[in-house]
């Protein structure tokens, strides 16, 4: 998906001036309260008319002030999960869920009620009304309703803030997986850095109505610690899971990795942050980290106060980051041999 937004909107003292282009399917929007995030998604959904500018989704104009184009919301195929659930009070949970689905062209109906119900754990609510649902139940129904409308772009305005952690982290992989499988790109607004890292591959940061950064969730997380170096997400394709005394081992780069993640079918994609790797010059004889790679440094790059270290581990490659001081201390240079320790729980499954 390519989204081009150039738009201004003024509400009294508040002035929003967005001007950015993003490509990718998992975009995050981050910003303090009142910075204009909700206003932005309302403009994208066609609910708020920008004062000027244009909005292009995959090259197709949704709004263009100069060409007098303003596609109405129902023809944008842009679904929106609001900050508050806003369920239809006169419909049952089922009626709410199916509202968008019924209005979606047959050809676009890729996700059905049953898939959603299981994941969101709302099976026993289906025939209830929505007024007396608990906060979290409502939000799950709202999420299901938007997904079932099989949109071309899904906008989510803090959709998970009413959910408890367990549920949240159960829903996130599904949400992301479903969106990936159905090729539904999304824009995800959240205040939670963890959610952001799990959901977004790119983050637009807003402050007082302007985007102030276009970055990765990881970099954002570091940024917010006051650090600037660019982080690196290692993507690992793992195969052949075996249960291995409580952990699961997977084949990767000619060696086996030990993970806490449960096994899955076929080739699975995991991510490993450069943050989650610790390098040792010598073999640490007894270490809690379940993965210890003997690697060769094949590159070093500076990134602010940190150093990025490119490692060759068997046939695989990984990027680790260490404090600049540590890089000196460990005498890391191209060709050095090091041990990289990674905890079994550091791998995050994507999708």
């Amino acid at each position: 998906m390519e989204l081009r937004v150039r738009g201004a909107k003024t509400f009294g003292a508040f002035h929003l001036a967005a001007d950015f282009t993003v490509e990718g399917n998992r975009i995050g929007i981050f910003g303090e309260s009142g910075s204009g995030k909700s206003t932005l998604v309302n403009m994208l959904a066609g609910l708020e008319r920008p004062d000027s500018g244009e909005i292009l989704l995959d090259g197709e104009p949704l709004f263009a002030a100069d060409r007098r184009i303003n596609v109405p919301p129902e023809r944008r195929r842009v679904a929106l999960v609001f900050q508050h659930p806003h369920l239809f009070p006169h419909l049952s949970v089922r009626g709410n869920l199916l509202y968008g689905w019924k209005r979606c062209a047959m050809a676009n109906r890729q996700v059905g009620l049953d898939d959603i119900v299981d994941v969101l754990k709302i099976g026993r609510l289906l025939d209830r009304g929505v007024t007396n649902l608990s906060g979290g139940e409502k939000q799950r129904v709202a999420l299901g309703r938007a997904l079932l409308s099989n949109p071309r772009l899904l906008l989510m305005d803090e959709p998970l803030s009413a959910l408890d952690d367990t549920l949240r982290f159960q829903i996130i992989p599904y949400l992301r997986g479903a969106c990936e499988a159905l090729a539904i790109p999304y824009l995800f607004i959240s205040h939670s850095l963890v959610e952001m890292r799990l959901m977004a591959e790119r983050v637009i940061v807003f402050s007082q109505g302007c985007q102030v950064a276009d970055t990765t969730p990881d970099a954002l997380a570091r940024n917010r610690m006051g650090d600037s170096p660019v982080g690196y997400i290692n993507l690992l394709r793992l195969t052949d899971p075996c249960d291995n005394d409580g952990l699961i081992s997977y084949a990767w780069g000619g060696t086996r990795l030990f993970l806490t993640a449960p096994p899955g079918e076929g080739e699975l994609l995991f991510e490993l942050s450069s943050k989650d790797m610790i390098l040792c010059k010598k073999h640490p004889e007894a270490i809690s980290a379940r993965n210890l790679f003997h690697c060769t440094v094949i590159g070093i790059f500076e990134a602010g106060r940190k150093a990025g270290v490119e490692l060759q581990c068997g046939t695989g490659r990984l990027v680790a980051e260490v404090a600049a001081e540590a890089a000196r201390e460990l005498e890391l240079t191209v060709g050095s041999e090091v041990f990289a320790a990674v905890k079994a729980s550091a791998f995050r499954r994507l999708g």
Binding site: G46, L80, P89
Partner: protein
């Protein structure tokens, strides 16, 4: 206790028919007008607003005369219909039109109060889920203003049951054809000794509106948000 003459029974049947027809016929227009007034803004809205309230403010007698002028042979509408061989004046259609004219502002106002209190976010939600405005109207706005629609309908039905001034002018007071309950009651109370019969008719009228009220309550309960 009270015995009803066959003319009375005709009047009751006719009143029920007229009130029902007036309500049913006005409903789509009432909803459309309320929708337009609640959700659209256009030039001359104030003028339309005044026009809508006029039938309420004008004495029913005047409305009767105006309708007579409009629907009469020489009137705009009446002339056209006359050419087509249709006569309205002195038929029960005229009673329906009179009732509809008098009750319309009540209907529209009730529906508008309900429509105005619908959360705009729900409408936005339905739009983003792919519903066109007509679809949103049918599946979100109407169900959510059902309380107002039902209340407005029962106001209109009640007002139609009681309508006298306009009806007697456009529909006449012809027993068995256009004599509704209020006209019959008027005839009774203006003759000495007719109080008993008038009371009986009034009770029937109250009973009819009670029926509508129960139906209303029943609907309201059925559509009450479920648990």
């Amino acid at each position: 206790m009270f015995s009803l003459t066959s003319a009375d029974i005709d009047a009751i049947r006719l009143s029920a028919k007229v009130a029902l027809a007036a309500t049913v016929v006005s409903l789509p227009f009432g909803i459309a007008v309320a929708y337009v007034m609640s959700y659209c803004s256009f030039r001359g809205k104030t003028f339309v607003e005044v026009l809508l309230n006029l039938p309420l403010t004008l004495p029913p007698v005047v409305i009767g005369y105006l309708l007579l002028l409009l629907l009469g042979k020489k009137g705009w509408v009446g002339g056209l219909l006359d050419a087509a061989g249709i006569r309205i004046i002195f038929t029960w259609y005229a009673a329906v039109i009179a009732s509809a004219a008098v009750g319309f502002p009540l209907l529209v106002r009730s529906i508008r109060i309900a429509m105005d209190s619908i959360d705009g976010r729900l409408i936005q939600a339905s739009r983003t889920l792919g519903a066109r405005w007509s679809d949103t109207l049918a599946t979100v706005i109407l169900p959510l203003s059902l309380r107002g629609i039902v209340a407005g309908s029962s106001l209109m039905f009640g007002r139609s049951l009681g309508e006298f001034g306009a009806t007697i002018i456009v529909a006449g007071n012809i027993p068995g054809i256009t004599q509704t309950i209020p006209l019959a009651v008027y005839d009774y109370v203006s003759a000495p000794g007719g109080e008993g019969a008038a009371l009986a008719l009034c009770l029937v009228s109250a009973g009819l509106s009670l029926l509508v009220l129960f139906f209303h309550e029943y609907l309201a309960r059925r559509m009450a948000r479920r648990d």
